[in-house]
């Protein structure tokens, strides 16, 4: 590693050693995961949904590992560091997610297990008998997931930079990116060989580390900084100075009058979007019963609490005098300044591994979508289960390579912009998916038209948002037409989407446009494990490893 350090100045040797230790340990686990509760068959269910056999705790870790990514851990406090209160919307957002899961995901679980659906597009095709609509959902899912994976890499990069192995601006690009390339090659290799089992197992380590780091950070750092009073006073002083300099309120400890609509619409829109992402659906469908999902909504909020505490680290970075140009580096830098070296290593390992778990799940989810809804539906309808798994594995590799290329060749802001667009886009699949779970009233063509309108409006509106540093895609909020307040573009696009869908459904129904064939029946939506026709979980091959 000395070679890598050449020319970069301060490499934190102890932190780096601890980081590498955890990374190697996790890699070994990732490869061994293939043998964990494995069934004999080679099917997409096995590789891509872990045999659909995960109980409450595994599902909890998997979902937690999946939804609270390294990027979240870096970006949420970074937003607070830069803008104060406005960045805290992540907390109400995660509060609102759970009542939503409680209401609609058990129905999706049931119908998926009855009909063997692996993706949301599978369900949409089965429910509305429309390959076009299913394709729209699949493409949206893949497009929205790719930049998300890229952002995980940005998270790892931030940590590597602060440790001093990211290389200075004048280092050779290959040496500069080598650590990231290694991390990614490892991730790709064990996802390929172990499927969803690898991230599920690693999620235990990741969450253990993250809980530890946050518990220590939230107690140790305030004590060192002289208590929360001092911390918030320092933050207030910084924001007041920033507001004076800008001549208008740009940051503060509580959102002003004008920022409240933005805050609420961002929280609601993000909550609605979260469970449209293919990777959260993948983690949900891999649980072994409907009940596991509902029970999880009562324990998952622990993560929200953690996220809230983590967000406060943004203020601590201000109080600790951390000055970084790139906000993403604020938290890693805070850790390095505050913690003893060995614990900095633990904290960085937590963030690094925290990036690997979701990146693995996301690439699997995107691969499932491609295989089921593009490859099988359009390219090779008679594909066997083995072929499906093979294609899925290959695509998961391709998706990751794509994300890597994205991060290495383009500016980081491009990844962030696309991620922002991804959130707006994925929300537009909600009427088809959630609407379909509760009613068959919507017409398939109306849903497709609504989706197109939502996508177009969302993209155009986001393109038009300028910020002090960029001309386009400067943010995710814009004026809501007709209300005049500033709100989340994704939510506005979603409302437009629903209006178009409803109006066109009336028109199409009046015109007696052909309705697709619905292969599901009302009982399918409430079926539970053990009911007739529900696909049984595959038996665990290694007894004792269960739960």
């Amino acid at each position: 590693m000395n070679v890598l350090a050449a020319g970069t100045g301060g490499v934190n040797g102890i932190a780096l050693a601890v980081f590498i230790f955890f990374f190697v340990a996790v890699t070994v686990m990732g490869f061994l995961a293939a043998r964990w509760r494995k069934a004999e068959t080679e099917s997409l269910d096995e590789w891509g949904l872990g045999g659909r056999s995960f109980g409450t705790w595994v599902t909890w870790f998997l979902l937690g590992g999946d939804l609270y990514t390294a990027y979240t851990f870096v970006a949420v406090p970074a937003a607070i560091y830069a803008a104060g209160a406005a960045g805290f919307f992540a907390v109400p957002y995660t509060i609102l997610v759970y009542p939503l899961i409680f209401t609609f995901l058990p129905r999706l679980w049931s119908v998926s297990h009855k009909h063997g659906y692996v993706t949301t597009s599978d369900f949409v095709r089965g429910r509305f008998g429309s390959k076009g609509l299913s394709l729209a959902v699949a493409v949206t899912g893949i497009l929205a997931t790719m930049p998300y994976i890229a952002l995980q890499l940005v998270g790892i990069q931030a940590v590597l930079d602060v440790m001093g192995v990211g290389g200075g601006p004048d280092t050779n690009w290959f040496i500069k990116d080598l650590p990231l390339l290694i991390a990614f090659a490892v991730l790709a290799a064990y996802t390929y060989s172990s499927g969803l089992r690898a991230p599920a197992l690693i999620a235990f380590v990741k969450d253990g580390l993250i809980y530890l780091v946050i518990a220590v950070a939230i107690i140790y750092i305030p004590i060192k900084l002289g208590g929360f009073d001092e911390i918030f006073q320092a933050a207030d002083a910084k924001f007041s100075a920033a507001n004076d300099a800008a001549g208008k309120p740009v940051a503060g400890l509580a959102p002003g009058e004008a920022g409240q609509w933005t805050y609420a619409t961002l929280a609601l829109g993000s909550a609605l979007a979260l469970f449209m992402y293919p990777h959260s659906i993948t983690a949900t469908l891999s649980s072994k019963s409907r009940d596991v999902i509902r029970r999880n909504t009562t324990i998952l909020p622990l993560y929200s609490l953690m996220l809230g505490l983590l967000a406060l680290l943004g203020f601590m970075a201000i109080a600790a005098g951390v000055k970084v140009e790139n906000g993403q580096l604020a938290i890693p830098q805070l850790f390095e300044n505050m913690f003893p070296d060995w614990f900095t290593g633990v904290a960085f390992a937590a963030i690094g591994i925290g990036a690997l778990v979701p990146a693995a799940i996301m690439s699997i989810a995107a691969a499932n979508l491609f295989t089921r809804n593009i490859y099988k539906d359009f390219l090779k309808p008679d594909a066997t289960a083995e072929q499906e798994t093979k294609v899925s594995k290959l695509v998961s590799l391709l998706v990751k390579v794509g994300a890597l290329a994205f991060v290495l060749t383009m500016d980081k802001t491009v990844a962030i912009n696309f991620q922002l667009l991804g959130g707006i886009w994925i929300l537009q699949t909600m009427p088809a998916l959630v609407g379909g779970l509760f009613t068959r009233w919507f017409h398939r063509w109306a849903l497709l038209a609504g989706w197109a309108v939502g996508m177009a409006y969302g993209t155009l509106a986001a393109y038009g948002v300028a910020s002090p540093t960029q001309k386009h895609f400067g943010g995710s909020s814009d004026e809501i037409p007709g209300i005049g307040e500033i709100g989340y573009i994704g939510l506005t696009a979603f409302v437009l989407n629903v209006i178009v869908t409803v109006v066109l459904t009336f028109v199409l129904r009046a015109a007696k446009a052909p309705d697709g064939i619905d292969e599901t029946s009302p009982e399918d939506y409430t079926a539970d494990a053990g009911d007739p026709g529900v696909i049984e979980e595959l038996p665990p091959a290694t007894a004792g490893a269960a739960h």
């Binding site: 209160a85 805290f88 907390v91 109400p92 995660t94 509060i95 609102l96 759970y98 009542p99 409680f102 209401t103 208590g227 929360f228 009073d229 001092e230 911390i231 918030f232 400890l253 509580a254 959102p255 002003g256 409240q260 609509w261 805050y263 609420a264 929280a267 609601l268 509902r294 029970r295 909504t297 009562t298 909020p301 929200s304 609490l305 809230g308 505490l309 967000a311 406060l312």
Partner: protein, 89 residues
Amino acid sequence: MSDAPEVNRPVVTPVRVVIAVCLVAPFVAMLWVGSYAKVDPAFIGIPFFYWYQMLWVVISTALTMVAYQLWQRDQRARKAEQVRGGAGR
């Protein structure tokens, strides 16, 4: 619940209304940003805005738990009724 009369249960029952309230309450509380967009009173130095929302993480968890318990009881009662009533529904 065991001595409930053997008639078709309506879709909307008091229990289900309570479940709905439990699930809707967090939305009302969190989306009404004006109700908590202030700094005072602070708790151990943390402004109201922050500790109030973190408190709601706990409250909403408790509400979801109540909803979960009630829902399970509701489902069990309905199942038992179906078994007893034969062509109950």
